[in-house]
Symmetry: C2
């Protein structure tokens, strides 16, 4: 029997994806569920819905609430939280690098480190120096990884990944999908997605 | 010491408010927290944000997801779910009647019955006959209640209630507020809101 699996869809610009990224590994392991990390870009998906930026910017009263909600959630689970000065951030370079890392076995650590830099330390993840510092901490060769992240193969993999997200009817992040085609949206649905995969796979 | 209290803000057009309405009484009682039921209208609040209808209609891919999410949630807690043929429904008459009922002591039962009619039986709650049938089941004098619901006093109370929701920075339903000014949005935050009120009041 195959191990139950969920796909974890995340965009590095997404605040609630940070919370999910910090929670998912322990929760899934505890349930015996495997996780496939799938970075993608929300930008093209928002655009297809007629949104030109994050709904938290389009609807400021919702944006203010989100910050307070994040403060409470992060305090509850004991992780840092600081809104970066620019929001939403351009997550393209980080997403490409995450794909490199996921192929080479260090993508999950890299993804968590990007989220911490962005939402615990308030850094700009679109800055190459921020990504480089993370790579150094993970003891990866910075230049080789940077070159690979700019390759046509990685660029088109990210486009495919985003198209695949759209094919799953994903409209926000984080999202979780199961082998039997269920979509769960939001950090609040992480437990339910894991339980579903466990029951059905 | 005062009993810890949360305000429960709901719009009868809101699917997730149905789930919260069915859960809140037992959860709050179990925690020793008092609940004030506060019907209001989301319409003017959406308009102030530049939305002309429910976000679930403006963003259809989100609307389809919401229906599936509601199916799963309602199955999980064992309550019926059927989308009414028209969505969102005009909730004005039901909200005014709920205010009458809350003043007379039957507002919570009325509110749950409206939600069941709408989202378990798929009925049109803007139809006076649907409201009348609920009143009869609750053994309330239909004509007297209908007359009171149309009074200037009730009409202006609903306007005040909606303005009050806006003053609390409420932008969606259900929402919960605590005496110390915290706002929690969504059925998913019900437990957290109750725990917060208990800790702080």
């Amino acid at each position: 029997m195959p191990v139950p699996t969920i796909d974890f869809w995340y965009d590095f610009a997404s605040t609630y994806s940070y919370v999910a990224a910090m929670r998912i590994t322990a929760l899934a392991a505890g349930a015996g569920v495997n996780v496939r990390w799938r970075p993608f870009l929300l930008g093209p998906i928002f655009q297809a819905q007629g949104l030109t930026t994050s709904p938290f910017v389009t609807y400021p009263v919702k944006g203010s609430y989100m910050v307070r909600d994040m403060e409470r959630l992060c305090a509850e689970i004991g992780i840092g939280f600081r809104m970066p000065s620019a929001f939403p951030q351009n997550s393209l370079a980080a997403a490409r690098m995450a794909l490199v890392g996921l192929e080479e076995g260090w993508g999950e650590d890299f993804s968590r480190a990007v989220y911490r830099a962005e939402f615990a330390d308030g850094l700009a993840i679109s800055e190459p120096s921020v990504i480089a510092a993370i790579l150094r901490k993970l003891e990866r060769p910075v230049e080789a990884a940077m070159t690979r992240a700019q390759s046509d193969a990685i660029k088109s993999r990210l486009r495919e990944q985003t198209a695949d997200a759209q094919g799953h009817k994903i409209f926000g992040a984080p999202s979780f999908t199961t082998a039997d085609g269920e979509l769960f949206w939001g950090n609040d649905r992480l437990e339910q997605a894991i339980a579903w995969a466990k029951r059905r796979d």
